[in-house]
């Protein structure tokens, strides 16, 4: 039997439901000190003087660290993909600001004390004399010539710019039978894992060993970052990943607090810990998403895009955020799943006096998808062609893969039209229209909207210590035949360890329960990049597969000797190696292992190397980093996608929106564990729904963040999720991985934003409703409906005529 393809709950579930999770904040070290940070209340200010005398007097205070010392003793943090490489600004900063602060919440001093209350109290007693400076909180304003500059040494706020071209966009627009122009804006939001970040460092001066327990997704890159910044050899640092309470890209290396805890423990030669407070998380951990798209799209009468000129402005906040590159990815993905003969994509990544970006599920791909969905709905409205049909007409055809997109991105495989048509069947639009009409008779407004998300995975960037498309795995078969797998990839709860165990169990032919997977420790696991870009199962699982295959060959060789048959005639299953066609001739794997371990000079095992352990590295296909003629490169091996639909009910009086049903036809290639993929989809959809309706980081004009608690920054709860989430899989395997797996960790998050916006518009066929700014909180929806009604009232004759597509949708 095959374990691959089976629905199995997560391997760690049993331990976690028993309350035996071991998150970093649960780890105890004797005599550990607490670190607390003094953070600036200003969005832009020069530091004139820091007076720590009162703070030092607080009993229990061990050390107060200021930026000067840190800058002197450590190397700065840098972005793994530095804009400097592409002609942009150099991003490089220290965990404590030295003379200038760029956003509210930026750390200016670190206090270490024997207990956390003393550390907090001392932080409150640090007196900083600031000279406040002008603030810029809007990316478009930040590009104006007279705008305040976020980093005083810079000439302007443009972190990075790039442009991709295909065909002739001006000619395409001129030639088009119709054009639509406009803008679409996604708000600033963030990943919000429920586990706050946490670090605990313990330096042993006699071993010269710094052990760092970290709520990280990427232990090895974290070790590399610490080594570079602290000037310690890699061999003197061990990073141990605790259970991670959700990561979603945010728990990446290079956080200020991780460096500070490690530096302070090394310096003080005693354990130092920090556990993030929720308010600190909102203020300083890292935001994402805030992107403005301005577009001109030209199309034919039958709704085909002839030309698309799209300008992307990413508000990446303070350049101390290392994940600015998400805006780069947004531009890199456009125009996503669509074939646009003439296309120009221009990107401006812009600094402002707000918190910088941290990685967040979707990593910029989701906003690209959302922009294309909204543009296609505008084309549908302008041409009167059905919204779903307009997508079908513009999809990259299945026979054109691999397809080189405008940026040079190489889309590996897919069948978009089939997924979209299957979605249409599932949704049953005729039945929905009847339901919609019946509801309308009762005064209720139902709407149906579509989206098509494209989520490239397995990111690999040139000259990058973090984003690399390979990973390592060790598979060990012990003397008893039990299997241990050690991986360079990690799981922040997404469950790849379970899928990897399924792959290894099948490859070796052992029982699933006999496989144990160990992850997240740089001293025991092979070097690897950890968890991001849905890579863990697709890349880490492939490495484990290759290592397991190597061991299987060795086991077969010895078993062949024992059974006196050729290796090619053997199969293994359920812990037994059997002769094909002769089920009675078999030998248990544990016996074969025993021959290798306990009778190394015996007849059966003499010709093989002792031991049963293999470490293999797997490099994913469909990535090329040798720049082609336009200097472009391919960063993503696989391109999973999902056709999505949402049914919503809107209360026009209050603008409240309830998502009633959500549908998806998803393709992540070969599915190893449908239960875990479904679980990931549900989580992704919930986060997308949050981004569509509930979540918003709001700054005032002084750069003060107004949403710093879970009361003000509202994550969806169980009630906000639709009662019905109906998903199906379509499988187009990729050639980039041996099993055809494409990665599923980010799927689901992009679709809801555009599907829900589209559905709200659809709920009001009589109104010219265009929802092009997110999120769609009740007030915004109410205002849009009011505006559209007033417009209709001013020009009653235009109703219906203004929206030729209204009835066709």
């Amino acid at each position: 039997m095959s374990y691959m393809g089976q629905a199995r709950p997560g391997l760690h579930n049993r331990r976690l439901v028993a309350g035996r999770g071991r998150f970093t904040a649960d780890v105890e070290r004797p005599n550990a000190c607490w670190m607390a940070l003094a953070r600036t209340p200003h969005a832009s200010a020069r530091i004139l003087e820091i007076d720590t005398s009162e703070a030092e007097a607080v009993p229990g205070v061990v050390k107060i660290l200021l930026g000067e010392e840190l800058a002197r003793e450590t190397r700065p943090l840098t972005a793994s993909y530095n804009p400097e490489r592409g002609g942009g600004k150099r991003l490089s900063f220290h965990a404590l600001s030295v003379d200038h602060v760029h956003f509210v919440g930026q750390p200016v001093a670190a206090v270490v004390a024997t207990d956390r209350h003393a550390a907090h109290l001392a932080c409150e007693r640090i007196v900083v004399d600031y000279e406040q400076e002008p603030v810029v909180t809007d990316a478009v304003e930040a590009l104006e010539p007279d705008a305040p500059v976020v980093i005083p040494e810079w000439e302007d706020n443009l972190v990075y710019r790039t442009e991709y071209n295909q065909g002739d966009v001006a000619a395409g627009l001129a030639e088009a039978s119709g054009t639509v122009s406009g803008s679409f804006k996604t708000q600033r939001y963030l990943s919000s894992p429920i586990e706050p970040r946490s670090y605990l460092a313990d330096f042993d001066p006699y071993e010269e060993m710094l052990t760092v327990w970290s709520s990280t997704q990427m232990p090895h890159p974290a070790r590399g970052t610490l080594s570079r910044c602290l000037g310690l050899p890699e061999t003197s640092i061990r990073v141990v990943q605790g259970d991670v309470g959700g990561g979603f890209g945010t728990k990446s290396p290079g956080s200020s607090e991780e460096i500070l805890v490690a530096y302070l423990s090394h310096q003080l030669q005693r354990p130092v810990r920090w556990v993030e407070e929720r308010q600190e998380y909102f203020l300083s951990c890292g935001h994402a998403r805030e992107t403005l798209f301005e577009f001109d799209a030209g199309f034919t009468d039958d709704g085909r895009l002839l030309a698309l000129d799209i300008r992307v402005t990413g508000d990446v906040g303070s350049p101390t955020g290392l994940a600015w590159v998400q805006s780069y990815v947004t531009a890199y993905c456009l125009p996503c799943a669509y074939k646009v003969p003439n296309c120009r994509v221009r990107l401006h990544s812009v600094a402002t006096n707000k918190c910088g970006w941290a990685g967040y599920r979707g990593f910029g791909k989701e906003t690209a998808t959302q922009a294309m969905d909204r543009i296609l709905d505008r084309v549908a409205d302008a041409t009167g062609i059905d919204r779903l049909e307009v997508r079908l007409r513009n999809f990259i055809p299945p026979d054109e893969f691999p397809y080189s997109q405008v940026s040079g991105a190489m889309l590996d495989s897919g069948d978009y039209p089939t997924a979209m048509r299957r979605l249409a069947e599932m949704v049953d639009r005729d039945a929905f229209r009847a339901e919609q009409e019946a509801a309308r008779q009762e005064g209720r407004h139902l709407g149906l909207g579509f989206a098509f998300e494209l989520t490239p995975e397995g990111c690999s960037m040139p000259h990058n210590p973090v984003l690399q498309g390979y990973d390592g795995a060790t598979v060990r078969v012990g003397p008893s035949g039990r299997v241990t797998v050690l991986t360079g990839v990690t799981s922040p709860g997404s469950g790849n360890e379970t899928g990897i165990a399924q792959i290894v169990a099948d490859a070796l032919g052992v029982r699933f329960d006999d496989v144990r997977v160990i992850q997240g420790d740089t001293d025991t696991c092979p070097y690897g990049l950890g968890n991001f870009s849905s890579r863990s199962l697709m890349i880490g699982g492939s490495a484990a597969l290759e290592a397991a295959n190597e061991l299987r060959d060795k086991l077969f060789r010895v078993a062949g000797n024992a059974l006196e048959v050729a290796e090619e005639d053997l199969v293994s299953e359920d812990g037994e190696i059997r002769v094909k066609g002769s089920p009675d001739r078999s030998i248990p794997i544990r016996k074969v292992a025993s021959m290798i371990y306990t009778n190394a000079f015996g007849r059966e095992a003499l010709e093989v190397e002792p031991g049963l352990e293999s470490t293999r590295y797997f490099r994913v296909g469909n990535v090329y980093h040798q720049p082609e003629t336009q200097g472009r490169f391919s960063a993503y091996p696989t391109w999973p996608y999902m056709a999505c639909a949402a049914v919503v009910e809107v209360d026009p009086t209050t603008g409240l929106v309830k998502v009633v049903r959500y549908y998806g036809v998803h393709d992540c290639g070969t599915v190893i564990n449908p239960m875990l993929v479904e679980g990931n989809l549900h989580g992704g959809i919930a986060q997308g729904l949050g981004g569509a309706l509930y979540e918003d980081l709001v700054y005032d004009e002084n750069g003060q963040l107004l949403t710093t608690t879970f009361m003000d920054y509202t994550l969806p709860t169980a009630v906000e999720m639709p009662a019905e989430v109906i998903t199906e899989h379509q499988v187009t395997p990729t050639e980039a991985t041996p099993l055809g797996t494409k990665g599923a960790g980010e799927s689901g998050i992009a679709g809801p934003i555009s599907a829900i916006a589209s559905a709200i518009e659809d709920a009001f066929p009589d109104l010219d409703l265009e929802l092009m700014e997110m999120p769609l909180q009740p007030e915004r929806v109410w205002q849009a409906i009011q505006a559209a009604q007033n417009q209709g009232a001013e020009d009653p004759g235009a109703q219906g005529a203004a929206r030729p597509g209204a009835s066709a949708r």
């Binding site: 956390r116 209350h117 907090h120 109290l121 407070e277 308010q279 009086t653 209050t654 409240l656 309706l693 509930y694 709001v698 107004l706 949403t707 009361m711 003000d712 509202t714 969806p716 709860t717 009630v719 906000e720 909180q777 009740p778 007030e779 109410w782 205002q783």
Partner: protein, 302 residues
């Protein structure tokens, strides 16, 4: 975050609470359910030197009825007496409360989530006086009486005078809110309670409550109160008067809505603009009135 340092003292009687308040004055904070106080301590927004736990004071969690309509023949309404330590979940699930004042039970069920309602107390909620708190709103609507103990003795304050301004009440430094008396909502009185919030369990953006006392199908008295359009929950007497002396009609509802939109003066914040709050106040009031009318079993507004 974690609370600043303070001394924890436990009172075992009302007298002891008063003695401790006299001793510590404004440096003391009373701890009942703690669902508002402890977050404020954790955020270090409050730094009392003493926290006085009143949870063990006997008899403050009592619910009792007087003059309930079943036992009183005349039209004088009965009353529901609630000790300050009655928990929201008790209020929501108590059969006595649901029979005597179903509006109060319904409003209590909207407070936060189960774990919050298991701990949170009516006294804490009334004394905290959150501008969109459910219980202050109902207290204002029904003009509940709030009972206070102080070194000099006892006094009662009508809700109209009790809720002073944003998070402020008439409770003195040396006073304990011992309970509240809510008038009965009799079976000839329809009631409605409407909240608008982004998610279930959130603080409301705007909440509205209404009652309609009928006399032979005619509105004898209407009450309307709204939270979220000012520092404290407010009655809207002008709008109430529009409803007196007839059956509820669509025209009346429109007039009520206009009146409320014109007379309320909300402000903007991160959750909603003043305009939206004004609009929502009108909408929710009409919905509450329609619900109230339908609960009088007279059918939909004509």
């Amino acid at each position: 975050m974690k609370p600043p340092a303070f001394d924890y003292l436990r009172a075992n009687s009302v007298d002891e609470v008063i003695d401790l308040l006299r001793e510590h004055g404004p440096d003391a904070k009373l701890l009942a359910g703690g669902q508002s106080l402890v977050p404020m301590l954790n955020f270090r927004l409050l730094r009392p030197s003493v926290v006085i736990d009143i949870n063990r004071v006997p008899d403050l969690d009592r619910i009792s009825l007087t003059g309930h309509e079943a036992s009183v023949a005349d039209s004088t309404a009965g009353a529901l007496h609630l000790g300050t330590l009655v928990r929201h979940h008790t209020l929501e699930s108590s059969l006595e409360v649901r029979r005597c004042n179903p509006l109060l039970a319904a409003a209590a069920a909207e407070i936060g989530h189960l774990a919050i309602r298991n701990r949170g107390t009516i006294g804490g909620s009334l004394a905290h006086n959150d501008p969109v708190g459910e219980l202050p709103l109902i207290a204002v609507l029904l003009d509940a009486n709030l009972h206070l103990r102080n070194p000099a003795g006892e006094r009662s304050v009508p809700a109209s005078q009790f809720f002073v301004s944003l998070l402020e009440t008439d409770i003195g430094d040396e006073e304990l809110l011992t309970g509240a008396t809510f008038p009965e909502v009799r079976s000839d009185t329809g009631w409605g309670f409407e909240e608008l919030s982004r998610r279930t369990g959130d603080f409301a953006i705007v909440a509205a409550a209404a009652t309609l006392e009928l006399d032979g199908g005619i509105v004898r008295q209407a009450r309307i109160a709204i939270a979220g359009v000012g520092d404290v929950a407010q009655r809207f007497e002008q709008a109430e008067e529009l409803l007196q002396g007839g059956a509820l009609t669509r025209e009346q509802l429109a007039a009520v809505r206009d009146s409320i939109e014109q007379s309320c003066t909300p402000t903007s914040d991160v959750h909603a603009s003043a305009d939206y709050r004004r609009h929502a106040a009108g909408v929710l009031t009409c919905r509450a009135l329609e619900a109230a009318w339908s609960r009088t079993e007279t059918g939909a507004p004509s």
